[in-house]
């Protein structure tokens, strides 16, 4: 019996989002796992893709993020909003 060919890196990366969100059919997920078992480049790609998502979140909850969420609203802006509401 001939072994089924591996899916390509292109196919894996194209459908990576569905794979990571568990939206792939089980049979398809098995194909992904099979490819990953022999492709360190795709393993590295997936890890860095997931790290990208994590870093994006971290970048905006960091204390040094611009327009810091811990700061108070500028007083002149509060006054402007209150004045606009009264119009």
């Amino acid at each position: 019996m001939t072994e089924k060919p591996y899916i390509t890196c292109r196919e894996l990366i194209e459908f990576l989002l569905d794979y990571l969100t568990g939206e792939l059919a089980e049979e398809r997920s098995v194909e992904f796992e099979r490819h990953l078992a022999v492709c360190p480049s795709c393993v590295a790609y997936i890890r860095s893709y997931e790290e990208t998502i994590r870093l994006g979140r971290m970048a905006f909850i960091s204390p040094d993020a611009p327009a810091g969420e811990s700061e108070e609203v500028p007083e002149d802006l509060v006054k402007a909003i209150l004045a606009a509401r009264g119009k």
Binding site: Y6, C9, S41, S48, L55, G56, A59, F60, L77
Partner: protein, 216 residues
């Protein structure tokens, strides 16, 4: 009804403090509106700033959004957190502001997507990044780098990335706010993440970078 003030589904109910504030707001208590501005304003201003990258526009958006919210209070059904409802109004107002900007030619994103050989292998094998713990040691620099890279994404991709990964809207809600299909949101999100990954890659590779092979 402005889409940003539409009812929210599957969210937590208001906290007791929010319920009390709502009662006061609906009674027309002017002190309550000021409390709302001071309590939620800073976080909401940061949200508008993320989308617009412009202090004056972010301030305008916050003002417009809070006034819209105040006018729409009667339509707030109280089945969601007040903070979540306000967040969605600010996101929607920010998106409307983005749409109203004069459209410039959008930078193509293709150059930032992975390249493949004819046989489907990656043209340039991906390499491992530094450990998370190493990046945490340089957290401030890393965060600054990531923000700069996100700013470099073309608007339509950056917006989807912000909506889904940073503001944590689900695909359907992001699609509704953008007026596109959920599938279009998924495609754009995937491309935006890939492009952001490409921009971060040269900075975050483990040094010295070792060459790795691809699948057979």
């Amino acid at each position: 009804m402005p889409s940003g003030t539409a009812p929210l589904e599957n969210t937590d109910p208001p906290t007791p403090d929010e319920t009390q504030l709502l009662v006061q707001l609906r009674a027309g208590d002017p002190v309550a509106f000021e409390k709302l501005v001071r309590t939620y304003g800073s976080r909401l201003l940061a949200v508008a700033h993320r989308f617009l990258h412009n202090e004056d526009e972010a301030r305008d958006v916050l003002q417009d959004a809070l006034l819209s919210a105040f006018k729409a209070l009667d339509r707030f059904e109280g089945n969601a957190r007040l903070s979540t409802w306000l967040h969605r109004i600010v996101v929607n107002t920010s998106l409307m502001r983005l749409r109203s900007r004069r459209r410039s030619l959008e930078e193509p994103i293709d150059e930032l997507l992975p390249k493949f050989l004819e046989d489907g292998h990656q043209a340039l094998p991906a390499e491992s990044w530094r450990d998370s713990s190493e990046m945490m040691l340089e957290r401030e620099q890393t965060c600054s780098l990531v923000r700069r890279c996100i700013e470099r994404l073309p608007d339509s991709y950056r917006t989807v990335l912000l909506l889904r990964d940073i503001e944590e809207l689900d695909t359907e809600e992001a699609a509704r706010l953008l007026g596109v299909t959920p599938n279009a949101v998924k495609v754009r999100l995937h491309r935006a993440r890939q492009a952001l990954r490409s921009l971060l890659d040269p900075h975050l590779r483990r040094q010295p970078a070792g060459r790795m092979g691809t699948a057979p």
